[in-house]
Symmetry: C2
Subunit: 359 residues, 2 copies
């Protein structure tokens, strides 16, 4: 039985629809960049970013007008093991903060002129606000130290909900560039477990201090992750198995958003560690997805570098961020937009009548 | 005779007016930041940036509305030694490109909603455009392999012109945050010489490939810098002596802009290597200036890290930029603005009714 035999249509169709970015457009974009009034290559990674976007969108005039950050929320049964510095109700409380536009991601999204789409993939309790997209799978995942975090069907559903979020926004208008973000108390714990399961790296090397835990909780957190991995034995070659056994609903949803963006040929700027765990799931399901992912920043969480290296992504920023929500995505989207404006707005040597390089 | 005895009033008054940033406001800003709806410290360097701006401006509600990038241009006699990949007329040609809004700095400044003030400190030839502030000291500096690049009076004048640029813009309205940038074919050569003279580092370790020179020109460039240093013997403890013997007019102007910002309590985001050489001059003239300088990015030029370490500055971005003009400053200003918006716009735990950390 192949892996994809067990997947339903939405996910299967998405995985099959993802194509490589177009290398010809990337090359043509660099040629245009080389003819702009600056030394060739002098805008470094901004030039690379513009090339990537041109390759994704198959154009030399990439638009970045419609920017959406998908902030996905869920709760985690493993929170009852005392792995977080914050109480579980903060997940739900923060959703109100998002809707009111007063959380970190709202401020940074406004700053870069991006819209925030907040979705409930599995928050404990009912979310009544009309400002939240409800795609709830359950009232939190289960405690993975006592069994699977979710069923295989729920894992697939969480990914499909992420794909749907992208498709729905595309139907509402357009997405020129997307970002991912997360909210879920304790979610660095399942993210660490996912990264350990897939990369094979030791949980002790992956695990960080999340929202800011002390040594005692930190050591407990590592024990909890190891216990979950030993009990559930996720199959590293089956990303759905990993997600269902030790993951979380928003992690699956983020994987889905990334796959949905790849299918729709939209560059997707991922945030930090939790978004990275989602990206790892998406990448394992279809490695071509990598062409569509831009890593916004290097998180303080030690496992983040491990997963980015595994996929082969190099983060744009290193500002010691560890908030999540999509805050890093907002800053990354801004750099991608800057890179596209360079390509679209700068004069060529001919247009500006500027002399070229001598040798 | 003390150093300052030889300085005239504008420079002396400015140096004497510079105060340390206010540590109380920095501490109060961090306290406010710790009470915003996020784990304490989770926005990393964004939190630090907001603290710095609050310390500079003596406020907990820092404004970043009026953003100005000062792009200073000049030519360099040492260009005749064949140290650049581009012909000297590009300096003047690029000024038209700036005025037309089609150069890299214009695109990125528009992206971050900053104004670009272009000033001619010593371009070869007449600049006729009304869009350029003319503060011309000479039609290019002299070739420092044959004597001093400029007189001591000219060096002081270049710094004072930079101070004037800031004062004039303050009189025109306000500057909430400033950036620096440069244009001047061959100007990585005098910048390398300035950094070598002041830091004592070897010219071979400082010198880079500027706009993109081949091995032969690169080796010649190092020889030229060493020759200039050996001939002129700049006094590392006298920044004006260094600037006059091996510097350039825009480098002095940038030092002046930085001093002018420090005097006016304006955070100043410096660009790459040439702006860094200017910052080094400003820092040597008054080390308190350091409190007002924010390093936007780590340039590809190897001497940049050496000078940033010397001053004690840690760059925000590392995107392999080496264009100059203020392009990196624009991106850095955007991050500083983001950091201030976080402080101004995010809800506190109380305001949002979000539960606090347990332990």
């Amino acid at each position: 039985m192949s892996l994809t035999d067990t997947l339903n249509d939405t996910l299967n169709d998405t995985l099959n629809a993802i194509e490589l970015a177009d290398k010809n457009f990337m090359g043509e974009a660099q040629k245009r960049s080389d003819n702009l009034t600056k030394p060739s290559g002098s805008l470094g990674r901004l030039e690379e970013l513009a090339n990537i976007v041109c390759g994704i969108k198959r154009t030399l005039k990439p638009k970045t007008e419609n920017k959406i950050i998908f902030t996905l929320a869920a709760d985690h049964g493993v929170a009852e093991e005392g792995v977080s510095a914050f109480p579980q109700e903060v997940t739900k409380e923060m959703i109100s903060n998002f809707v009111n536009g007063r959380a970190g991601v709202n401020v940074l999204a406004r700053h870069v002129n991006a819209k925030v789409v907040v979705a409930d993939l599995g928050v404990k309790g009912e979310i009544l606000s009309s400002g939240v997209v409800i795609k709830k799978i359950a009232h939190g995942s289960k405690n993975f130290t006592k069994g699977s975090a979710m069923t295989r069907e729920q894992a697939i559903k969480s990914i499909e909900y992420g794909i749907e979020l992208v498709d729905e926004e595309m139907n509402n208008g357009a997405i020129d560039i997307a970002g991912t973000g997360d909210m879920g108390i304790a979610n660095t714990t399942p993210s660490s477990a996912v990264v350990a399961a897939i990369t094979g790296a030791d949980a002790g090397k992956i695990t960080g201090r999340g929202t800011g835990i002390n040594n005692e909780i930190f050591n407990n957190k590592i024990r909890v992750i190891k216990k979950g991995l030993n009990l559930n034995k996720p199959n590293p070659d089956d990303a759905i198995d990993v997600l269902s056994k030790v993951g979380g609903f928003e992690i699956g949803g983020i994987a889905g958003v990334i796959l949905g963006c790849a299918k729709n040929k939209i560059p997707v700027v991922i945030d930090g560690f939790i978004s990275g765990a989602g990206a790892l799931i998406a990448y394992k399901l279809n490695p071509l997805t990598k062409d569509y992912i831009i890593a916004s920043h290097q998180s303080v969480e030690p496992g983040h570098k491990i997963l980015l290296d595994y996929i082969g992504l190099k983060p744009l920023l290193n500002l010691n961020l560890r908030l999540g929500e999509g805050t890093g995505s907002a800053l990354g989207i801004n750099l991608v937009e800057a890179s596209c404006k360079i390509l679209n707005e700068m004069a060529t040597f001919e247009e500006a009548d500027v002399s070229k390089k001598i040798n």
